[in-house]
């Protein structure tokens, strides 16, 4: 036997189709906005992170010689002696890591680390004719570099693999190429800090989307870079590692730190602004979408309140016939829950539809062709939970009011 309370709820709902549609639409709108806003914000966050990680690794190991130079003279503190060392300088200063292979071995042992590459980075002067530009030169291990940074995706012309084919090949950032007015096939010369000159041929152009990187970075093969700086075969200035989930970079960096004698840094440590921007965007997305859901909740509250006022006589007669307070709460609560379920379900579909339409809107920036959208099941689940919770509350208040109606007052007129 179908529950009589359900039947009454259903009859109330279906007898006012227009009102039902308005109520359902308000939930639909709220939930779809929640889904869309969060998909979009996650998309933006991921895009931002992707762009960031095109030139930055999750964990970076480098030689950080900073700090006060050690004063080797022992400081005797007798009353009649005064030792004074002024203008102390580093006298034995090692740039980079001469034994980068050791570092790589340590990193390889950690199972959370999925990719490792090494680089030789150096500030150099690029020259093309009279144009002189300072920039950074990255000597990269092409195979690992591609695996880690997906570099080939950002190559706009030429090929990164050509770096291994000839020792005088260079790939320029697009901004840098513009500054040097160099294009594919041109020869440019560079001068290292130590005054070594070498002519390179442009075999590719790269655009990562990060402007400052594109305007200053040139890439050559790591072996060429070692040669250029006259360093040994295991030399590298940076060893970089990527982990499975970039949010775990900090903990993993802490795990390997003790085994590495160089400075080991997770990306968050040097780039707090990225993390805080992501968090702020998330907060804004959730605040805006929750506000919309709450407004939808007020809509339902209003409609249910009207329904209760309209049906006040019916409620009184139901009570006279023996329906108790719990039945009345149930009857009206079921109505708003049904509105929440229908509206929520359509809202999820609509949210998905809007997100996938926005996903196709052309938006040309960096390596992106369309606006970024991330589809996370959690967004959909949370949208439904919030939506149902809000319709439940919005429905419960009028339902409780209905259950407290005194039938005598209404029926006596």
């Amino acid at each position: 036997m179908a529950n009589i309370n359900n039947k009454i709820s259903w009859t109330h709902l279906t007898s006012k189709v227009k009102q039902l549609i308005v109520a359902v639409l308000s939930v639909t709108f709220g939930i779809s906005m929640y889904v869309f806003m969060n998909s979009f914000m996650n998309g933006v966050n991921n895009a931002q992170t992707d762009i960031t990680f095109t030139s930055m690794s999750h964990i970076r190991v480098y030689n950080d010689p900073a700090g006060e130079p050690a004063i080797l003279l022992s400081q005797k503190s007798t009353s009649d002696t005064l030792t004074m060392v002024s203008n102390a300088k580093h006298i034995n200063y090692t740039e980079g890591m001469i034994n980068a292979d050791e570092v790589k071995e340590v990193l390889q042992k950690n199972k959370d680390i999925v990719a490792i590459t090494e680089q030789v980075n150096q500030n150099v002067f690029f020259r093309n004719g009279v144009t002189k530009v300072s920039g950074s030169l990255s000597g990269v291990d092409t195979a690992n570099e591609i695996q880690m940074f997906n570099t080939t995706e950002y190559i706009t012309e030429g090929s990164l693999n050509d770096l291994d084919k000839r020792s005088d090949a260079v790939v320029l950032g697009t901004g840098l190429a513009d500054k040097l007015s160099a294009s594919m096939g041109d020869n440019i010369s560079l001068t290292t800090a130590d005054g070594v000159n070498k002519v390179f041929k442009v075999v590719g152009l790269i655009e990562t989307g990060s402007g400052s990187v594109d305007k200053s970075r040139a890439i050559i093969s790591i072996n060429t870079a070692r040669q250029l700086l006259s360093k040994n075969k295991s030399y590298a200035t940076d060893v970089m590692a990527n982990v499975k989930d970039y949010n775990d970079a900090k903990t993993i960096a802490d795990e390997v730190r003790s085994d590495i004698k160089y400075k080991t840094e997770a990306w968050q440590e040097g780039n707090a602004q990225l993390e805080s921007a992501n968090t702020l965007r998330d907060i804004i997305a959730i605040a805006v979408s929750l506000t919309i859901l709450i407004v939808a909740g007020f809509g339902i509250y209003n409609i249910m309140n009207m329904t209760v006022s309209e049906k006040i006589r019916e409620i009184a007669i139901l009570k006279a016939m023996g329906f108790d307070g719990r039945d009345i709460v149930y009857i009206f609560l079921v109505q708003s829950v049904i509105i929440g379920l229908i509206g929520g379900f359509i809202g999820l579909l609509l949210g998905f539809a809007v997100a996938s339409i926005v996903d196709r809107i052309p938006f040309k920036i960096a390596s992106f062709d369309t606006l970024p959208i991330t589809y996370l099941p959690a967004d959909y689940i949370l949208a439904m939970i919030f939506g149902l919770a809000i319709t439940f509350i919005a429905g419960y208040l009028p339902a409780r009011k209905a259950s407290k109606i005194d039938p005598v007052q209404i029926l006596r007129g």
Partner: protein, 243 residues
């Protein structure tokens, strides 16, 4: 402790014995209205109604007759005194217990029919029985059809309650009041809104129910002719019964 429990049991049994033929007993009912100012509506009202009796309560407006009916109906619970219906003392029961009690033992007919307008005539009649859940849906439907036939509304059962005439609506309301075969049917001016022809139909139905089915009927009315044809008239003046 034991002694007092036994004492209560004996008293209860005594009440049952006394009320064997009583459908309803009101004992020293006193009620005040507090709004806008304290005013005593009912003053120590006591009376019995026997099973199968057709009683009408008459009186001028403000005499407390409707107030009394709503106390007897168990919907209004703020009073002093005791009310026993069908051997159950309803005074002091919780709202939810009272709702269940009304569902099973009391049928209501009001001046305005108060049908649920979006439901069909048949659904309206079945509603209290579906709530009571003592019979299967098929049995309830058969019983409802029987009542609709008895009250001459057969053929309209699938129509919406708002789409039939006033006299028919009032008869549907009576069918609804009868569906759970309540011990007592209470009417608040059940014919107040009907023309003389429909008034006669409704009265005859009540008469027949009391006579043939032994159902007790208590109706508040302004209609002197209606009252005159009842088994008993309880007349109220200023919150007291004058016989």
């Amino acid at each position: 402790m034991n002694v007092s429990i036994i004492g209560i049991t004996i008293i209860t049994m005594g009440v049952i014995k006394n009320n064997k033929m009583k459908a309803l007993t009101a004992n020293k009912i006193t009620k005040y209205f507090h709004d806008p100012e304290t005013f005593q509506v009912l003053k120590d009202v006591s009376f019995d109604v026997n099973k199968g009796e057709f009683v009408s309560i008459v009186g001028k407006s403000g005499s407390g007759k409707s107030t009394l009916l709503y106390l007897l109906s168990t919907m209004d619970t703020s009073y002093e005194g005791n009310i026993t219906i069908n051997d159950t003392t309803v005074t002091g029961l919780t709202q939810n217990q009272l709702a269940k009690f009304r569902n099973e033992h009391i049928g209501f007919v009001f001046q305005f029919h108060y049908l649920l307008p979006e439901f069909s005539v048949l659904d309206n009649v079945m509603l209290p029985a579906l709530k009571l859940k003592k019979k299967s849906k098929e049995e309830i439907e058969a019983r409802a059809m029987e009542l609709l036939t008895l009250l001459d509304i057969k053929g309209h059962e699938t129509k919406k309650a708002s789409k039939i005439s006033g006299g028919q609506q009032q008869r549907v309301a009576i069918a609804r009041a009868l569906i759970n075969e309540p011990a007592i049917i209470m009417g608040d001016e059940p014919t107040g809104n009907l023309d003389s022809k429909n008034t006669k139909i409704v009265f005859d139905i009540f008469r027949q129910l009391a006579k043939e089915k032994g159902q007790t009927i208590i109706a508040v009315t302004h209609d002197d002719e209606f009252a005159a044809n009842c088994d008993r008239i309880i007349e109220m003046v200023d919150g007291k019964i004058i016989q």
